[in-house]
């Protein structure tokens, strides 16, 4: 039984957290994620959850508190954004290296300087290689669904890694949408009881967390982490199947939209995918075989599956809502290119940087990319491999 509501992305995530009912949360206010914790702490104050809050003095301490609480043995979550995530950076590696199943909502926004506060993917992309699993969400519904599934993924006994649930700052976090909530009981049963693994609070069996590991063994630990990452896709897919049973909503490693018979396509993350899908429909109406691929699990990146889904296209434009300064292309482009590298026959790739610091992504931007792809597919000639779009010249 689901309930249809009109809520903001933040409200949806906060409600998912209420339904999951974690043991501890440690958090610090950083816009635009703050609203999640404001809503959540009202659940705490009104006795709707059993969660104990640690209202810390910095984002660094927020993640440090999560690390301590998670190692102690229990379900732990937090939420952050941009500068907060940047300050947490050291702790992100410690949480994942210590194999702690923490769940964090990341309301994506731009990094300073200049100070901006609006949505883009610079924060999440900066943290993409910190050993966390990253789930990206197009809208409030996906943010809600991903948050619930994130706990199952993080706490899976073959995985035990932290998970970041990414949603676009303001565009999703502060916009009201129609979404379907699951019943509290359904969520409770879906996430299940937290399973302990070497908890600090088991004083009969003392364990040491956070050892020094020198060149003799450090590399083996890193490889073990990499191997766990490789197990994540199957677990994500299995959990998505279970989730479909209670929600009727399908999830995979990524979403494809009208891609199977497509000749041209765009690859894009999060909220801008929605706008792009509308434009693709218009192109299809005109008889142009256009499609879209939207990654959901960005870390670990499903190279094989994504490469396989795109290899038959003639031309693909990867749209990045973050730049990688000094690199040739944006971060999403680099992974898409790598996923196609093994194939002899592959599409021509272009890269566009859009929507930084909350700049609107408009249908005309998708049209621009797709019209170029039509031309490339026809002539095989590329005018610009990489450019900023929607920017003053």
């Amino acid at each position: 039984m689901s309930k249809v509501v009109a809520v903001t992305g933040n409200e949806a995530v906060a409600n998912a957290l209420r339904q999951v009912n974690p043991d501890v949360s440690s958090a610090y206010p950083i816009t635009p994620a703050t609203d999640i914790m404001q809503r959540f702490t009202s659940f705490v104050s009104n006795g709707q959850v059993k969660t104990e809050m640690i209202l810390v003095e910095s984002e660094h301490s927020a993640m440090s508190g999560c690390v301590g609480a998670s190692a102690a043995g229990g379900r732990v979550m937090t939420a952050t954004s941009s500068q907060g995530l940047a300050l947490m950076w050291e702790e992100l590696f410690i949480a994942s290296g210590s194999r702690l199943p923490i769940v964090m909502a990341l309301v994506n926004r731009a990094l300073s300087a200049p100070l901006n506060i609006h949505g883009d993917h610079s924060d999440g992309m900066g943290a993409r290689d910190c050993g966390w699993i990253q789930l990206w969400s197009e809208n409030a519904q996906e943010a809600y669904d991903n948050t619930i599934q994130a706990f199952r993924i993080a706490e899976h006994m073959d995985i035990r890694l932290p998970v970041m649930v990414c949603l676009d700052g303001f565009i999703i976090s502060h916009s009201i949408e129609r979404i379907e909530y699951l019943e509290d009981e359904e969520v409770k049963n879906f996430v299940g009881e937290f399973q302990l693994l070497n908890p600090l609070l088991d004083i009969e069996h003392p364990v040491s967390y956070g050892p020094l590991i020198l060149p003799d063994y450090y590399m083996e630990y890193r490889r073990a982490h990499a191997e766990v990452m490789s197990k994540v896709p199957n677990v994500v897919v299995d959990i998505a199947k279970d989730f479909e049973k209670i929600s009727g909503r399908k999830y995979g490693l990524f979403e494809t939209y009208r891609l199977d018979d497509a000749e041209i396509g765009v690859v894009i993350l999060n909220s801008a995918a929605g706008t792009s899908k509308d434009v693709i429909d218009e192109f299809r109406d005109r008889g142009i075989k256009a499609g879209l691929l939207k990654p959901r699990v960005f870390r670990p990146f499903p190279y094989e599956e994504i490469g396989n889904s795109l290899k038959h296209l003639k031309a693909v434009c990867v749209l990045d809502r973050a730049d990688a300064f000094g690199a040739s292309y944006g971060p999403l482009f680099a992974d898409i290119a790598a996923s196609l590298y093994p194939y002899k026959e592959k599409p021509v790739l272009t890269n566009k940087i859009y929507g930084l610091g909350g700049r609107d992504y408009l249908p005309e931007h998708a049209e621009l990319a797709l019209n170029e792809l039509v031309e490339i597919a026809k002539t095989g000639k590329v005018k610009t491999f990489r450019e900023y779009i929607g920017v003053r010249e």
Binding site: S58, G68, S70, L201, P206, S208
Partner: protein
């Protein structure tokens, strides 16, 4: 709970929870402090440890010297980390999933406490976690190579404030962290030293009886950084106390009590002389520094005695 009488004989019957075989330098003050702290507890303990000498030397995979649950997170966040552990404990206790009485300690060196970990410590104290933070203060970043910290004493020669021909070592006085922690209005703050083991153990025992955040600052001789003999740790700790460089006192609910008053207050130079880091202060041109340093020590001691007298008067 039955308490162990405060005698060495009785304490020595208890299990040592930091095993030998750890890799701290010989003559280091820190493991003496840790052993005393752990012996003082009648409760099971979970400890967090800031990055530093104690941490890197006691848990090198796949070995650990800790017979208690122990967590090292990073340099600046032992207090935030133990906040997390203690909060999970409270959550699970409330839910009826755990019933044991457990005490929580964070250990940090002066760098991880006075400097980079100060914000995390201050935050944890304000939030009121039921925890004891113990700073083992050796007066510099000894683990990274004896660099200056805000706990480094006036005049000391370190690798980042070396005594040179123009600048004679550290020109600033130490941060008075014990007072700063007391200013958080937490229920218990104390200063202790390993030479006065009974005083230290008594303070730890008292801290465990008090609910809420507690802070103890413990002098920790370091022969590498102090450039002293390896077998002089306890003697230097004693001289630190007897010269009133490191006064032993406690502040309980705002009331200050000096817990050790030397019969005869020794001149500060007795503490400085055996340490290579102060050698340059004895050059004729730096005599003013010795004088100034003595004045700083006298001033703090007088102020403490005054607070101590006020505490006695208020107790009637």
């Amino acid at each position: 709970m039955a308490t162990t009488p405060l005698t060495l004989k009785e304490l020595s019957k208890k299990e040592v929870l930091l095993t030998s075989g750890h890799r701290m330098c010989s003559g280091c003050g820190a493991p003496i402090i840790v052993k005393l702290v752990l012996l003082a507890s009648e409760y099971p303990i979970i400890a967090a440890n800031a990055t530093g000498c104690l941490e890197v030397s006691t848990c090198i995979s796949d070995y650990t010297a800790w017979k208690i649950p122990w967590i090292h997170n990073a340099f600046e966040n032992a207090a935030a980390t133990i906040s997390g552990v203690e909060t999970m404990y409270r959550s699970l206790k409330k839910q009826g999933k755990i019933d044991k009485e457990i005490k929580f300690i964070a250990f940090g060196g002066d760098g991880g406490t006075y400097d980079i970990g100060f914000q995390s410590l201050s935050g944890a104290m304000e939030r009121g976690h039921d925890m004891l933070y113990i700073c083992y203060d050796n007066g510099a970043y000894m683990n990274t190579g004896i660099q200056r910290s805000s706990a480094t004493p006036f005049g000391a020669d370190t690798t980042t404030c070396p005594a040179g021909s123009v600048i004679p070592g550290k020109t600033q006085q130490r941060k008075n962290l014990t007072k700063i922690m007391a200013a958080h209005d937490i229920p218990y703050t104390a200063q202790a030293a390993p030479s006065h083991w009974a005083d230290l153990v008594k303070k730890v025992k008292k801290a465990f009886q008090i609910e809420g955040p507690k802070f103890m600052n413990v002098l920790s001789p370091c022969n590498r950084g102090w450039r002293s003999r390896t077998d002089d740790a306890v003697m230097l700790s004693r001289l630190g106390v007897e010269t009133c460089y490191w006064p032993l006192y406690e502040i309980e609910n705002g009331v200050t009590k000096v817990t050790f008053k030397p019969k005869e207050k020794k001149p500060l130079v007795d503490f400085l002389k055996p340490q290579g880091r102060f050698k340059h202060l004895f050059a004729p041109e730096n005599e003013w520094m010795l004088k100034k340093f003595q004045e700083m020590v006298d001033k703090e001691w007088e102020s403490l005695l005054k607070s101590d007298a006020e505490g006695k008067a208020s107790a009637g």
